[in-house]
Subunit: 341 residues, 2 copies
Amino acid sequence: MELTFNTLDLNLLDDLSISYESVNTLNNVTIQLTAMGQTGLGEVSPHTAYGETQGTTLAVLNYLKADLAAIADPFQFIDILDRLDEKLEGHAATKAAIDMALYDLVGKLLGVPLYQLLGLNPEKTTHLTYTIGIDSVDKMVQKAIAASHYKYLKVKLGSPDDKDIITAIASATPAILRVDVNGGWEARHAIRFINEVLVHHPVEFVEQPLAPGDLRGMKLLHTESALPIVLDESISDMNSILRHADVVDGVNIKLMKCGGIRNALKMIHTARALGLKVMLGCRVETSLAITAAAHLTPLVDFADLDLHLLVAHDPFVGATLDDDGKFLLPTAPGLGVQVKP
Amino acid sequence: MELTFNTLDLNLLDDLSISYESVNTLNNVTIQLTAMGQTGLGEVSPHTAYGETQGTTLAVLNYLKADLAAIADPFQFIDILDRLDEKLEGHAATKAAIDMALYDLVGKLLGVPLYQLLGLNPEKTTHLTYTIGIDSVDKMVQKAIAASHYKYLKVKLGSPDDKDIITAIASATPAILRVDVNGGWEARHAIRFINEVLVHHPVEFVEQPLAPGDLRGMKLLHTESALPIVLDESISDMNSILRHADVVDGVNIKLMKCGGIRNALKMIHTARALGLKVMLGCRVETSLAITAAAHLTPLVDFADLDLHLLVAHDPFVGATLDDDGKFLLPTAPGLGVQVKP
């Protein structure tokens, strides 16, 4: 298999701010895996919190080029990815790109879309959750109103204006709200804010209210919170799900955190066996990586796969949305992602 | 999809006795699922301990015929099987047959063997473990010697002659031994027998030494046993793995117990995340159901998939063994199982 790759630098249509960072560009890497006359596509969205940058991604891809060139049979995709995990620790986002490119390639070689390769019903996709990043209360309300055609809004909290924000947005839109704090609260504050403020609004659950390390706080919150808690930053692999199963109601699985479709499937099944709700999330990605995750949405409860909508001049077209904001999967083979003309 | 089925009654070449039962016939049901011009094959090996007989199997298949007839697209195999689980409790062996027939059908429609559909490396299959059922010490030794071309023997214990049996077999063959008690011991006896007798022989692990309900005994044994413990009768689904993860070293997953390939894959991944060893086991089955499981052996440690070797006039040919007793997977599409001429 031949591996080629390119950097992909794009502006966002708007700043995206959460409790601990703000971004306004996409600095990703796209990859191509070619074998047997077909090419699979993948995307890396590196994150410094996981020791990944665009630069380390290019270095890792260069390092893997020869290994991948020595492999002739893409149909051993699970075996190839297992060996990749043995060879290289970390760099989950780079692995996710290779993983999705392999699934894309195999789907193209067999002539079936990814959801068929996985045996899924494309009518069972979920609705997209649209993210409202942290900003002034007025701007957040404006954005929520502009996004009122979406059934579900993810409101980023963890700022001094949390109470005003949630109150204003809840009265300005009919959307069901999902709150994401990105670890910005302390346990005592979280319990008070959830039970005294959030319960009075149409808030479905709270995502990662506490810092990932605060397991004692999570235990307390799990007992005291009137709303379900979903973890994101705490969850990166199967073991992290097993470790948190008793203190949480759901998990946010991202291809870039876990290394791709194959590991996401394992995590979804394990989370289900543990009785947990499952969300699929994303980083700042184009329609390429978003579409890879969208193919898995028939298996999950929540699809927070919206950040491609923030990208100016997304070069790809893949999964789209119906009028109701529910994912429509492409029916072309593999991921079904095309480069825009 | 059209579902058809037939009873399959065959004699065994020899009685098979374990600690609590003895069988000398195979009374299974084979099924055919036809769609889009291809036919997938499946086999049910019912077990009364799970409320299954050949008769209940026929009744369940009749009950499901209309539902399956209403489904046009076999590529939604995971969704079809999820809905089957919702419609019908239990009857895991019947579900396993439908599951394997769907994978067979999809593999045939795509023109790829099952191991390729699953992304596995066919060179990474494991060695077959050959079962020596309970009999007189002399007969068990004779059988062990006759099977000495196999690297691994599964010796059934749980009889009054356990000590003589293991001592005689260990000195008669160079094979690595795996002991299976099928729940025939008590905890105190198990600890003594393992630590005073079995440790002196080339015994790799002990399977299901205690009755499935004896969780307190398992905890004690887990602390005290000098050999690893694998559970079989205790394990039927994902939840049973999670429940026993702290008191065991490995699990025996059988398609007939868990409902097929799809659930076996979930259980394998969850067991791995929990750090457990994984065995694939079987009931009294022909090469049809054995081959379905054999395709998964690249993912597991132990393949106790040998009971087709006991069947007189097995009508199918599928996975075979190399000179060393390692599985060779058929390369024909789907399961790659053919009806013998």
